[in-house]
């Protein structure tokens, strides 16, 4: 092997093996589901209600997120204010937040008895019930408004300065500037953002589990869970999982298709951007949007810490046991995810079919965790007690879920390393491990650290497959927290939320920081 002209030959095959493994781990549960329903998938009226509710809440969540994200991104793009960088960084935080912690913070901030309700009560204002459609939409906005704002902000910042100058020298008014510059950006950014957020809202589970529930507010994901844990109707669980997988594949396909080349205005000389700022009214409205969005995003987190810190001392031991279990699982998931994505990335950089192969890894993202979990459960049941395998399956699914994100972080760095170092490395006769170690690794450590941080934080906070499988006596920290909430042991749930929040952020920080230090 070492004498062959292509360097890293072995690694390509290992990478192809990793890809095949990912494909097998994602497709075999889907095939199991399909085989289970070969007698025809039967959906009841209530299942159609779940499909309907899923689409309605996803549509509302997406439209409202985008409607606020556009003015927010614009305000952040054209204003300079104290803490702007922190604000932009904060908009990335919901991504690594454990969903259950965020939902908990949202309930205790905006709920029927939350902080806002307590402040407004003396004035005779009663906050509406948070359980049901508006609670689900509000929680989805918490996660997706900042995501949308970041996507749009990125596009805004890519506007070449030359274009803005040109528009100004032509004397374009607000309307014309919007039509020729801003609309061009939005027209290209909004459709893919819409598709991605719609997809995320359709396949979110933990939000619906806590804030939905009754027949009026059941999503497909929740219906899968209920068919499992309440009815033990595997046929219906498989039918619903098939519907969910199909829906996600279609939406994922649309999202990919709508992702056109990002910049419709061409590139400029990369000079710092100064967008026209508008008059005083614009300044006030920009400030208002930033303030409201800031409070909406920060208040729930402050609430979690405020409520939880006093209860850290007297947390029951099972919370700490669950925390330890979750950390160990997160580390395993991270190791598996890094190992797979590194090999896949090394392979993708040297193959022409890379885009198609990368799409395989997106499968894991597109297909809902509960659909995957259902398939896995049905497979395992034929050979063993699946409940006993809850933790390993959760680790594996978590690793697969983080894979597309880690891959996205690794690929650009690896391509760059390949472009700049490959010739030198070949000239020096570096092969295999040595080549990787000396030519590539130094340039990969930063994205590796970032990717590991993402994978660990996502896995730490995950409440998906584990809810489907888990025995309560082997709970992860998010599941333990849900049980405490369910048993109405609120002070302990508050403490657990703080531990979970701290551990997730800590894991991310340690890996990300480690990557930066050793880079």
């Amino acid at each position: 092997m070492a004498n062959r002209p292509q360097p890293l030959g072995v690694m390509v095959w290992v990478g192809m093996g990793a890809l095949a493994l990912v494909l097998a781990l994602t497709l075999s549960p889907l095939m199991t589901i399909a085989a289970f329903g070969r007698d025809g998938f039967a959906l009841r009226i209530t299942d159609w209600a779940a499909i309907h509710f899923t689409l309605v809440q996803a549509f509302l969540s997406t439209v409202l997120s985008l409607a606020i994200a556009v003015p927010l991104a614009r305000a952040v793009a054209r204003r300079h204010f104290w803490g702007r960088r922190l604000f932009v960084a904060l908009m990335g935080a919901p991504f690594i937040l454990p969903v259950i912690v965020a939902v908990f913070g949202i309930i205790s901030s905006f709920g029927h008895n939350g902080l806002i309700a307590q402040i407004l009560r003396p004035f005779g204002v009663v906050m509406p019930e948070i359980y049901g459609l508006h609670g689900v939409v509000l929680a989805h906005m918490f996660f997706n408004l900042p995501l949308a704002a970041r996507l749009i902000l990125q596009a805004w910042q890519d506007v070449p300065q030359e274009r803005v100058r040109l528009a100004q020298s032509l004397g374009l008014g607000h309307a014309a500037f919007f039509r020729h510059i801003e609309w061009q950006i939005l027209r290209n950014t909004l459709p893919p953002a819409f598709a991605i957020i719609f997809l995320l809202c359709c396949s979110s589970f933990a939000v619906a589990l806590i804030l939905g529930g009754g027949p009026r507010a059941t999503t497909i994901e929740l219906a899968i869970y209920q068919a499992f844990r309440f009815d033990f109707d595997l046929g219906r669980a498989a039918s619903l999982a098939a519907v969910q997988a199909l829906l996600c594949l279609v939406l994922g396909g649309i999202a990919l298709k709508w992702t056109r080349p990002r910049n419709p205005l061409g590139t400029g000389l990369d000079r710092p951007l100064a967008l026209p700022r508008g008059g005083r009214i614009a300044a006030v409205s920009d400030g208002f949007v930033i303030l409201v969005a800031g409070v909406f995003l920060i208040l729930p987190l402050v609430r979690v810490l405020w409520l939880g810190l006093p209860h850290l001392i007297d947390l029951p031991s099972q919370v700490w046991v669950a925390a330890l279990r979750s950390v160990v699982m997160a580390l395993f998931a991270t190791a598996i995810c890094l190992c797979l994505s590194l090999h896949i990335a090394l392979t993708l950089t040297r193959l022409k079919a890379a885009p198609y192969l990368e799409a395989i890894c997106l499968l894991a993202l597109v297909i809902s965790p509960l659909a995957l979990g259902t398939g896995w459960f049905l497979m395992l049941r034929q050979i063993t007690n699946p409940i006993a395998w809850a933790l390993p399956v959760t680790v594996l699914v978590n690793a697969l879920m983080a894979l597309p994100f880690v891959l996205r972080a690794l690929l650009p760095a690896l391509r760059e390393a390949e472009a700049s170092q490959a010739r030198l490395a070949t000239a020096l006769g570096l092969q295999g491990w040595k080549r990787f170690r000396h030519a590539y690794l130094p340039r990969l450590i930063r994205p590796l650290g970032f990717g590991a941080g993402l994978a660990a934080a996502l896995s730490m906070g995950d409440l998906g497959v584990i809810a489907l499988f888990a025995a309560p006596d082997h709970a992860t920290l998010p599941l333990e927290m849900m049980r405490l909430m369910g048993a109405y042991r609120m002070q302990e749930a508050q403490g657990a939320a703080t531990v979970l929040l701290g551990l997730s952020l800590c894991l991310f920080w340690v890996f990300d920081r480690g990557g930066r230090i050793y880079a």
């Binding site: 529930g213 027949p215 009026r216 309440f230 009815d231 409940i387 049980r483």
Partner: protein, 328 residues
């Protein structure tokens, strides 16, 4: 009965020379094994005589408990499932995951005769809506409740035995008119919780005017908290009765120990914990043995109850009625 326990104890003692203490795993609902529930006392009392390690494992409310056993299938670790009720009994039997207990039950104090090869009762009670005594004009029937703007908390019939009990209660009282009652109730329901604990917790936090629970629940507040501010609304249609049951699994690797536990379950040591632990009527203790706070409870004139077979036949349609009415 004692002989079986002693025999089990001796075989256990013999086994201990070779191996660790045998473990008896009992799957039950969360409030049974809670610190304030009957679980800890039962565990202490049984471990004194069995020479074993009794472990309670919480698996959600009654129906979710059965689903858990089905999820694990024939390879389950459970030896005993405690906390199903007669409404789920036929479904549980049909899974084939339970085996006959072979026990001749002592004299029971249930309102009905008991004869079942697989399941034994451990307590019983009536479903009722619990409210604060200061509630003006508490409803006297479901029609009143549906017409009112009272905020109520109920449980999901697919996961919870009280939730399922309410579905049968309305089914038994109104028959083909049940859908109309549910549609009337749908705007009174604050939320549908997966289990009893969640709903009762929300009620105590002041999130609703009434909660679906038991006619015996006010006794808890009177006896344990010296608080007489809670009462149960007596409904003119009558109240649906629940009989809670336990059975031993086919998957058990400790059948002798499991049988010993079921016998213990009907002995005074277990039964006397029930009134002030699970806040239900014990299945094998005379009424004279009930504590004082049980005197002031409502006593339904009409008792509604479906046989296990009838409940199983009606289950899918009744839940579908509930789901359809509430998803509007």
């Amino acid at each position: 009965m004692k002989h079986t326990i002693i025999a089990a104890g001796m075989s256990v003692a013999a086994g201990m020379a070779l191996a660790d203490v045998p473990v008896l795993q009992v799957y039950t609902y969360d409030s049974f094994m809670a610190d304030w529930g009957p679980g800890p006392q039962v565990e202490r009392a049984f471990e004194e005589i069995c020479g074993c390690d009794l472990q309670f494992i919480g698996a959600g409310d009654g129906a979710a408990l059965l689903a858990r056993l089905q999820l694990e299938g024939p390879r389950s670790d459970a030896d005993i499932v405690l906390g199903l009720d007669t409404n789920l009994m036929q479904t549980a039997r049909d899974t084939g995951l339970f085996v006959p207990h072979g026990i001749t039950a002592p004299a029971l104090t249930l309102p009905i005769q008991w004869q079942d090869p697989e399941f034994l009762p451990f307590d019983w009670g009536y479903f009722a809506f619990v409210h604060n005594t200061d509630l003006a004009n508490p409803p006297r029937n479901f029609e009143d409740l549906a017409a009112s703007d009272l905020r109520i908390l109920i449980q999901d019939p697919r996961s919870s035995t009280p939730g399922l009990g309410l579905v049968y209660w309305i089914e038994a009282a109104y028959g083909s008119d049940a859908a109309r009652i549910w549609e009337g109730l749908s705007d009174n329901i604050v939320t549908v919780t997966p289990g009893w604990s969640e709903a009762y917790g929300l009620f105590l936090e002041g999130e609703a005017d009434m909660v679906l629970s038991y006619s015996t629940s006010p006794a808890y507040h009177v006896i344990a908290e010296e608080d007489d501010s809670k009462t149960a609304a007596a409904f003119e249609e009558g109240h649906y009765m629940q009989i809670e049951i336990a059975g031993m699994t086919a998957a058990s690797d400790q059948p002798a120990l499991a049988r010993a536990f079921l016998e213990f379950m009907l002995s005074p040591a277990f039964q006397s914990v029930i009134p002030t632990g699970n806040w239900m009527y014990p299945a094998a203790l005379p009424a004279s043995a009930l504590p004082e706070g049980f005197d002031g409870l409502i006593a339904p004139e009409t008792v509604l109850h479906f046989s296990a077979k009838e409940a199983a036949d009606r289950r899918d349609a009744a839940i579908e009625t509930w789901q359809t009415a509430l998803s509007r």
